[in-house]
Structure formats: C-alpha cells, structure tokens
Amino acid sequence: MRKLCAIAVAMALIILGGCSSGSDSNKNTAAGATKDQPASAGVPETVDLVSVRDLVHKTMAGKRIAFVPILYNGFALTETWGHELERTMNMLGAKFEVHDANFDTDKMVQIIDGLINEHVDALVLHNPDVGVLTEQIKRAHEKGIYVVVVNMIANQSGDMYIGADVPSAGRDIAARAVADCKAKNNNKVAIIDGFGPDAFSIGFLAGAEPVLKDAGFQVISKQEAQYDQAKANQIATTILQQNKDLCAILTNWDIPAVGIGNAIESAGLKGKVGVYNLDASKTWCDSLKAGKVTASAAYDVPGIGAGAAVAIQHLFELGIKAGTQRTVDYVPYEIVDQSNYSQYANACYSGA
C-alpha cells in the first residue's frame, strides 16, 4: 500500500513538474530569455500562414519602440527611416514614437536615459559619433531593452546595426573619382568630410584614402565641414582659389556635396572639377541634373528604415536576451551619376 502511495506521489510530482516546465518553455523557449523577454523562439518548422501571422502580431502587440535620431523634423534622411518604421510598427500593433534631439547631443543622451528608465521595449538610435551613446547602450541592455543602431555605427554594439557599408562605399566612390581623373591625366584631389570622430567620416576615409594612395593621387587638402553646406562651400571656394587644376573633391555626404558643387560653379570650374560623395537625396539629384555634382555611392536609405523594422521583429520573435548576440547588417549601394540615377530606387529619396 505504501509502495503504491509512493508511486502515486512520484507520478503526481512527475506530471506536475512536466506541466510547469512545459508552460515555461511556452513562454521562454529561447536560450537566455528572461521573464522580461517575450514568449517566442521564432516560428515553428511548419507554419500555417494565418496562425503565423497571429504569432507575429501577438509578439509585437503593445511593444513600445522609440526612435531617437539626432534630428527628425524636416530632415529627409531620418524622416524616411521613421516613416518606414512607423508604417510597419503601426501595422503590427506596436507603439512607435519618435524623439527629436534637434542636433543636441546632451538632449539626446537625456532622452535616451529617460526612455531606459521608462523601460521601453526597444530603442532605434542614430548616434552622432562612435562613443557618445556607449553608456546608454550598455544600460539599455542591462534593462533588457533591445537596441538597433542605424547608419552611424557605434563603438558599443547594439543588438543589430542596419546601415550603409561606409568603408566599401567610400572605397568605390574614390575608385570612380580615380578612374575619372586618370582619364583627364590629373591626380590632384581634395577631401572634405564631416566632424572627424563620427562613424561616417572614419569609415569614409578608411575606404577612400587607401584607394587614392594606391593610385598615386595627391590629396592637397583634407578638411572638416561638419556636414554644413555653407562651410563646405567656403572651404571649397578657398581650396579652388589655390588649386585651379584640382581634379576632384570627395566628401562623405550629399548636402556638403551640393555646397561644393555651388562653389565650383561660382569659380567657373563646372565640368572641370568633379564632386564625388556618399548618399543621394532629392536635393543632391537636383544638383546632379544641373551638372554641379558628378557621382555618388547612393545607399538604400528607405531600406535602412525597413531593415530596422525587420530587425525589431526578428529580435522579439526569437526572444534573444538583449545584448547577448549582435549583428552588423548592411544595405546595398550603387554608384549613380547622370546616366543612371533614375534607374535606382536608392537615389533621390525625399523623406516621404
């Protein structure tokens, strides 16, 4: 009798233990998942399209996603990303919000600190330089908040980086400039980049400078214009005065390229000095059509926004613990000029 009771108790314990572990795996099946992470380990091996859709919507419903760019209102680049994210997150029932730092790095840090304290579910960050958000990304991960970094890579990795492969784009646009200048038997170029310690400037120079050096080109000037069209115009005006035989000016963004193009036109050197850059918004395309700029490594700006939206879904569906697995994911780019800019969706975006 006692043996039967013992067996019954053991069976009951086994059954109860099995039920509770089964229910735990339903909530936290992903390795490293915590109680704060959603109950999902991705989709099953075989799916029914309606129920998998329900799974994704259930996973994303009510999640608070905060996008913090360095500037938003009136800035085509980040508005394009924001609109892609907003459309996707709204469609999935998540709560998407944008916090505009209006160029103020201190304000950006405060905004992010506040969002971390409010325990948002995910942050999408566009950081002004490689180090300024190091502590914020670490804190976010400690609190189980996913971090997706867009277009300006940081030294402290987020869960995912989505953006342009800036060194490769810099390498290829420099190669284009070298090819065009060699055809003119001219090896003198100048470089005008951003702030200096920002990811785009570092990546651009890492890609472009070796190409110029290997080709035996002379970089007669390298200056920072802080992504300011007026400063780029002033620097270009001064350099052109000293070096009327310059072949090309390379810059790492399209807005300074527009300023440089205007300076070249004012100096009467339109068509003689080329302008080569990264990115190709509608403003740049207008300058291209006017013959003031030459070519750009136009990367997929709308794709970055879509990519960030996919990244967020990926993270929540798999339930990966924040900060434990990190990836860097690039969007494509094309070298566009007057002959092909209308063929590529990457070029001439306007922020819609």
Binding site: D228, Q229, N233, Q242, I255, G259
Partner: protein, 342 residues
C-alpha cells in the same frame, strides 16, 4: 636727484604701455592683420593673389554684416544672441515663401525683412521696456523665434536657392562694377554704420548710453528707444546677412546645427576689434579690423590644410589674447569702470 637704472627701465616700460594704450585697439588689430598678411605672403602658396583676397573678402562679408549689428548692440551695453537664428530663419523663410507659398521673390524678401524687424523690435522691447537682461532675453528669443517660425512656416532644415531667384542670387553672386555684390553690401553696411556711430546724434548717444546709462539719461537721451533701435539694427543686418549667405552658397542648411557659428564669430570679431563687452567703447573700424583678422587667419589655416580643430583653437586663442591685451593696456579700476571717454 639721481635716478637709478631700475627706475629708468621702469619708466621706459610704463611709457611703452602708455604709448600702446593711446592707440585704438582697432588700429592695433589692423596692424596685426597686416603682419599676418605678410606671414601669409611668405609662407602660403596661393595666398598673395588678387583672387584669394577677393575670396577672403567675399567669404567674410556676411560675418562682417552680422558683426556690425552685434557691435552696435554691444556698444549700447547689450548683446544679441539671436543673430544666428534670425539669419537662418530669414534665409530659409525667403525660399519657403518664394518657392512654396506663391509669393514673388520681392515679396518674400520684403516679408523676411519685416520679420527681422519684428524680431528686433521684440528683442528691444524685452530689454528696454520689460527690463530683462539682454543675455537672458536674447537667449530666450533665440529659441522662441526658431520654434515659432519653424512650426508655422518651415517644414525642413534644408533649403536650396530656387533656380529662378534673381534678387537673392544677385546679393550672393552678383557684381557691381566688377566687385562681388557681398563685398559691396558689406562695404555699404560698414561705411553706413561708421557714419551713424561717429557722426549722428543717435549713434553718439548709443555710445554714451553704453558708457554710462545714468549719465546719458540725465543728459536727456531717450534710452529706451535707443536700446530698441540697436536690436532692430542688429536683427535687420542679420536678416540681410542670411540672404547674402543663401545667395552666395546656393542654399541654407541648419542640419547638425549648421549656421550657429556666426553667433560666436560675431562676438569674437567685435571683441577682437576693441568693442568692449561692458559697453560704450569701440569703433566700427575696430569691427572691420577684427573681421579682417579672423578672415585672414581662417584663410591662411585653410590654405595650409589645417583642420577644423586647429581653426577653432586659433580663433579662441586670438580672442583670449585680444581680451588679455586689452586688459593689460587698459587696466580697470573703480573710476575707469564708471566713465571713460565721456
């Protein structure tokens, strides 16, 4: 009575400082600029060309215009921190009105000039009648103007000059008898301001008001209207400078905080040129000297491939040296702090 060698040396040292102290700071700064020009001629390829001097004048025209306005405010014992914002809103507002809101270019320019005038009147009213200290008043209006105008008028931070622009394009790229229009406009502003401060009653009273407001008031000077007028002049000149920059560069961007430098630079130029931040002291010639010195420094550094950090460091160092030199040449005590030339 015999005089020791030490006393003779001491007298010599004092007389050198006294001699220098009698020379207006603007003249000293112009002398320094000439020295720097000579250094540039002998050390920098491409510096000593007519084309380069033309570029230097053209690139510093807008700064010179803003600095004149800022200096008039400082002469009156104030400061205007909203100049950069006023310039940006004027430039971008003119494009928005002309390209997107159906106004003709003339109407757009007139409207932004009126907007600048209004901003100046508001600044002046705050300082003169509401008696808010100038530093705080214009710090507040810097953000207020930006917010109000952007919410109601400007959907973006980047504007390009429309291809069918004539007036603003001429202001930035036109010529008068072969001289670039920005240089001509800056020249008119400098000469007009010099005549105003030196030879008109309101101009002289602005200096008197800055030197000793109480004495000026007792003399019967209309202090409040004069104060308002200084801020109106500053805002209107900032508006014109914004349009010149737009015309010259072909666009106006405030992305990543672009365009804000003109505030610091306008104050730097004024102080380097001898316009005292305590008011009542300085000249328009000094402002011209300060603008010339800053422009030559930036030009020499750029031609020698010095980057942004070196340029900022040099500008800051020159400002500190100018302030320190002023303090050494014109030591302050209770008496000199209250009244100087008056």
């Amino acid at each position: 009575m015999t005089t020791s060698a030490a006393e003779v040396r001491q007298a010599g040292r004092a007389s050198l400082r006294d001699r220098l102290a009698t020379i207006e700071q603007g003249t000293l700064v112009m002398g320094l600029t000439v020295v720097l020009l000579l250094v540039g001629v002998f050390t920098t390829r491409g510096f000593a060309t007519f084309g380069n001097f033309r570029v230097v004048l053209m690139l510093s025209s807008a700064l010179g215009i803003v600095s004149v306005g800022q200096s008039i405010v400082i002469l009156g014992k104030g400061v205007d921190l909203s100049v950069a914002v006023v310039a940006a809103l004027a430039a971008q507002g003119s494009v928005e009105l002309f390209a997107n809101r159906g106004f003709s270019e003339g109407e757009a320019v007139a409207l932004v000039l009126a907007m600048g005038l209004g901003m100046g009147l508001f600044n002046g009213w705050l300082v003169a009648y509401a008696e808010v200290p100038a530093l705080f008043a214009t710090l507040g209006t810097m953000a207020l103007f930006d917010g109000v105008v952007r919410v109601n008028l400007l959907p973006t931070h980047l504007y390009q000059l429309p291809p069918n622009s004539h007036i603003v394009r001429w202001m930035g790229q036109g010529h008068v008898l072969g001289i670039p229009a920005p240089i001509v406009l800056a020249g008119i502003v400098f000469i007009g301001a010099w005549l105003f401060i030196a030879y008109t009653s309101p101009g002289r009273l602005i200096r008197a008001m800055g030197d000793n407001p109480e004495a000026a008031r007792l003399m019967g000077a209309p202090i409040r209207p004069l104060l308002v007028s200084t801020y109106v002049i500053s805002a209107v000149l900032a508006t014109i400078a914004g349009l010149v920059i737009l015309g010259k560069d072909g666009g106006y961007s405030t992305i990543y905080g672009a365009g804000q430098d003109i505030l610091f630079e306008s104050i730097t130029v004024a102080v380097i040129g001898g316009v005292s931040l305590s008011g009542g002291k300085g000249s328009i010639f000094g402002v011209f000297s300060g603008a010339a010195l800053v422009a030559v420094i930036v030009n020499v550094l750029t031609l020698n491939n010095f980057g942004l950090l070196a340029r900022n460091f040099t500008r800051g160092l020159v400002l500190i040296i100018a302030v320190a030199a002023d303090a050494w040449l014109h030591p302050r005590d209770e008496e000199t702090a209250k009244s100087e030339d008056l």
